[in-house]
Symmetry: C2
Subunit: 647 residues, 2 copies
């Protein structure tokens, strides 16, 4: 399909936007009129710049408040349109978007609207231009695609067609299932936008919070599939009004945009293929087959059902590595291996593998120099690691290759947003082959009963959240879970959880809405690239034993206010003896309506950057104890202030 994007979706001057869009290999743009009005050159110069970059100017948008006007205003609008047609011809742009009228002066007479659009289309046809009519979600008389299509049918002019926008339909909870019944050749353009579900006025929602397919919660796949079943073969385009995208570096936005389209196409292709083959939907099967035959939809290797974390690797210098090794040992990890050829050490407990990489000159070490102590790489379990990496690359992740020593393991790997390496590892395989037994440095610690990584949380700059969400959904195959705002003493932190269907791979993305929280300070410390680890939660089946054992080995648990436990007793139906035991061990709790329970405890931060959490899930609890985050963040702030005061 021909892929395009509206210029409003990216930051920068128009020239910079075009360069970013071309670099992401789009075919064309929707020219957002204000971008053109601010452009320093003429229409012809813009056409040339776009052409030099291999981009068509596929749509001129928006033309507002046109149809259904009283006659005098209609005449004036025709003059306005003719001036815009002049511009479009200079631009070499064949199609104009007319969005449904929002003017208080407009009249709700569909016949009038149709007649006026007919006249506009007739004028356009004289210049070989076309008009697409779109139902705006807040149009005064027309806000559903059915209404717009009704008027287009009435107007009955070959140069007039329908424009669809997923946001305008799905934001109103309108049913997209009628789209497939519209003749595909009368749909002149399709704009796709996703969005998080927000309880706000639709105009504010539309102007500030749309995002790319795969970043939000609208059913964009069903919407676009309907257009394909209708026989639509035109542009697959993105039109995103988003406050954060306006300031996000535009090369990244453009790459995310293209990734979102490839992901959307592949999801639609799977749906169409199912429809065409299984015969479950006889009425639509021929249309699905035709669409598949006609369209070159993106076909990345199929998504793999990923398993959990195989290993997590920390890139640090020698001094930090020593401190981290001590922390791991206090946490009950055994130092099980030294890399055969590099300054890399392996620590194990249960199914958890932690790697400390201090190899001078390595990428891990470079990452440390740049970001400070953080996670430089992780291994994720995949049934077919090569396919998993190939899918990621097909969806525009950079492939990662590192120099290998003799007989070292070669793991298919890619780069995640923010730069950490994601390796794909076959289930059950370990890193042992690359490691030899280390020289014992200290008495082996007592294991703490930690079994596996429950989740990893990242601290992201605010413009990284949508990038990471799309990466996690399209490439890691995770689904979005709870998204909450947590109160730090110095502002709110948004926390978005993603997990796979099997619930053995969980990621939490934390973004500070304030510049002054510890999370924000941590992100700033890593530079704008973000993606630094915020905390790593490790699972146990007996948190009381674990906390006690590890405490004896020197782990410092974050002290929780006694008032928390009084509130817990007032709030939840918990046994008082249990709560008092929790209190002595600084364990906090959450419960879920279905009877699930979550017990967890936080360590004090490592190097003021990240911490570990020990968690025990019971009874199908599926959250992350967010209810306790405010208490945690206040305790961390208090601990920090005490440390700063030298107490």
């Amino acid at each position: 399909m021909r892929r395009s994007i509206a210029t409003v979706s990216l930051s920068g001057t128009l020239r910079q936007k075009l360069e970013a869009i071309a670099a992401a290999r789009f075919d064309g743009i929707e020219l957002f009129e204000p971008d053109f009005i601010s452009f320093t050159g003429s229409a012809r110069e813009l056409r040339q710049q776009a052409a030099d970059l291999g981009l068509g100017i596929d749509l001129y948008q928006p033309f507002r408040d046109f149809e259904g006007m009283p006659d005098d205003l209609f005449r004036r609008s025709l003059d306005r349109a003719e001036r815009k047609f002049d511009v479009m011809q200079e631009l070499g742009c064949p199609l104009m978007l007319v969005c449904s009228n929002t003017s208080p002066a407009s009249l709700g007479d569909a016949e009038r609207a149709a007649a006026q659009l007919h006249e506009l289309a007739e004028r356009a046809s004289r210049r070989n231009l076309r008009i697409g009519y779109e139902a705006l979600a807040w149009g005064k008389w027309v806000n559903l695609y059915r209404q717009a299509w009704n008027i287009v049918e009435k107007a009955d002019h070959p140069h007039l067609g329908l424009i669809l926008d997923s946001f305008h339909t799905l934001s109103l909870r309108d049913d997209p299932m009628g789209i497939a019944d519209i003749p595909g050749e009368r749909i002149f353009f399709v704009q796709m936008a996703d969005a998080p579900l927000l309880a706000m006025d639709v105009i504010q929602w539309a102007r500030h919070h749309r995002n790319f397919p795969g970043q939000g919660q609208l059913d964009v796949v069903t919407f676009f599939e309907q257009a394909l079943l209708a026989g639509y073969t035109g542009n697959l385009s993105l039109e995103i009004f988003n406050d954060v995208f306006r300031e996000t570096p535009n090369r990244r936005t453009a790459l995310d945009a293209m990734r979102s389209l490839l992901f959307l196409e592949s999801e639609c292709k799977n749906r169409l293929a199912a429809r065409a083959q299984e015969g479950t939907d006889e009425a639509r099967a021929p249309a699905a087959t035709r669409a598949l035959q006609r369209l070159d939809l993106a076909t990345p290797p199929a998504a793999q059902p990923l398993g959990g974390f195989s290993f997590i690797e920390f890139g640090v210098d020698e001094a930090t590595g020593q401190a981290l090794a001590s922390t791991f040992q206090a946490l009950g990890f055994a130092h099980t291996g030294r890399h055969r050829s590099k300054a890399v050490d392996l620590f194990c407990q249960g199914d958890i593998q932690f790697v400390i990489n201090t190899q001078p000159g390595s990428e891990a070490r470079q990452r440390f120099e740049e970001l400070g102590p953080s996670v430089c790489a992780m291994g994720l379990v995949a049934p077919d690691p090569v396919q998993a990496a190939n899918r990621a690359v097909a969806l525009l992740s950079a492939r990662h290759t590192s120099p290998l020593g003799p007989n070292e393991l070669q793991l298919p790997a890619i780069i995640s947003p923010g730069g950490a390496v994601v390796h794909f590892v076959r289930a059950g395989s370990t890193l042992d082959a690359d490691f030899v037994a280390p020289v014992p440095r200290a008495p082996a610690p007592q294991a703490g009963g930690l079994t596996h990584v429950d989740h990893m949380a990242l601290a992201l700059a605010h413009d990284q959240l949508d990038t990471w969400t799309l990466f996690a959904q399209s490439i890691l195959g995770l689904g979005a879970g709870e998204s909450l705002e947590l109160a730090d003493p110095f502002g709110l932190v948004r926390s978005c959880a993603l997990t796979n269907a099997q619930r053995n791979l969980r990621l939490v993305l934390n973004v500070s809405k304030s510049q002054r929280t510890r999370t924000a300070q941590q992100v700033r410390a890593t530079g704008r690239s973000g993606g630094g680890v915020h905390h790593i939660a490790l699972a146990t089946q007996d948190i009381f034993a674990t906390v006690q054992t590890l405490q004896a080995q020197g782990v410092k648990w974050l002290p929780i206010s006694p008032n928390y436990y009084e509130d817990l007793l007032a709030r939840l139906d918990l046994d008082e003896a249990l709560v008092r035991r929790m209190q002595t061990l600084n364990i906090v709790a959450d419960v879920s309506p279905g009877g699930g329970r979550f017990l967890h405890a936080y360590t004090e931060p490592f190097a003021d950057r990240f911490f570990f959490e020990v968690v025990q899930r019971e009874g199908g609890y599926d959250g992350y104890g967010a209810v306790n985050a405010a208490v945690r963040m206040a305790a961390q702030e208090n601990a920090h202030q005490r440390a700063s005061a030298g107490q």
Copy 2:
């Protein structure tokens, strides 16, 4: 009145909040429960800390989902309440806020709710505690104060009363005029919050966007006056959920909070006095008189109707001063004076006085070292300058005094947020007395026909907007006008206009919502204090002559895209010859529905920090040409990129 504030309204740990609240001389706090739950000490320790700071713990809040429950849940909630009563007794806190139930399990039976609240009040009475019941705007059954009062009346217990919150009433557009009919002694507490009018779900609005009286658009004065007419004599308290306040330095927030209460009290006092004296409201006159006799409402000197800008003073070093002098001369200003004893120069045109202060060691010069080139002081015309300054000081502005030379003018002055000095100047007076004729340095420029300062725009850090809005409204007596979001190539900029009734003093506050706009960069360059000048708009009655004359003297006007003028012709009913003349001179235009017109042109920036604008208002145009801001900001970005590229 006893003044208090909820701890949720400020940033920081609870200990830091208490210190900030005490420093602003509040009498007490509303203890927001999550702050207590995170507090590291016990209830007794908190009570002691508050007492040591001279603060009472006046309200414990909130207690949720209590009334109207099925019996079993009611019993559990009573147990929960008893545990909270324990805490309150330790805290020495006499009053608990119960907000109306939002639980799906609650029943909409007012009799049941009343009986359960009666039982709660009875239990509270045994410990000499009291219960205040408040209608939450999103309560499941009760969301209006009338409903809450109805239940309180039904419950009929002396330890149960009503709590009022201006936000919960005014956000629902409910009429507060019935409050005066409630017996004042049955109102146990009044929480005040203002808010901007936003089109969003009331819960989101309430949790993220409340602000202090005088910062928003709700009629908080009428609301509070109603409570006073009812005979209420309890706390005047603030409960503000605001994302920005959560990260604003809490000493400033606390000072703004107290200022907002003093302002609110004085506005209410004026209303009550008018009601009591004029006999326009016979029914309420006795209540108004009683309230005035009983209450010690704040009485700052009366607000002065300020006039326009008398002078604007720039603090710079010698080199920047030279450049600025050249800019002023190109703009048609005559160098009319040299200060008698200091390195300070005066430039005049029409009624405009610009001052360049390069005096080594002066505050102006220190401000330059800190912020770079900016406005260090301004003079505002006031009928009674001493009273104007006294009012500001009564409303917590710091008074400014500077060392005076012999026979120098002494102007009453205060410090504005961000640190610039505001002098108050009698109408018609000039600075001439302090200045002597300068040595002519260059041929006198030709005057450009500039008559007065139309408006001054400031670039503020995002946490300065509410602070400045309150300062402008309470101390400068300005009213809030349009508030718009403007699209810079790298993000949105919110622009809020304030003006006096006579329309001769206009301020525009610009806040970047993005970190990457030029406005944001400018704010960062000045450090967090903000308050740097963004641009100064100067009025003319013939913008064509002005622009041409000044251009001949070397003023560089920001080049506007030719596409802008094509769009102007399409969009507005303007004479083509006029538009082409505008195009040659880079003049842009806006029109208002009533036939008003605004022609304006922007200079290129001075030292990459601020620019001048020349404006011509016609036909009662009352805006600021915001429709052209996107074109301006794109042009500034293009100019900056060209300059950076060395072209």
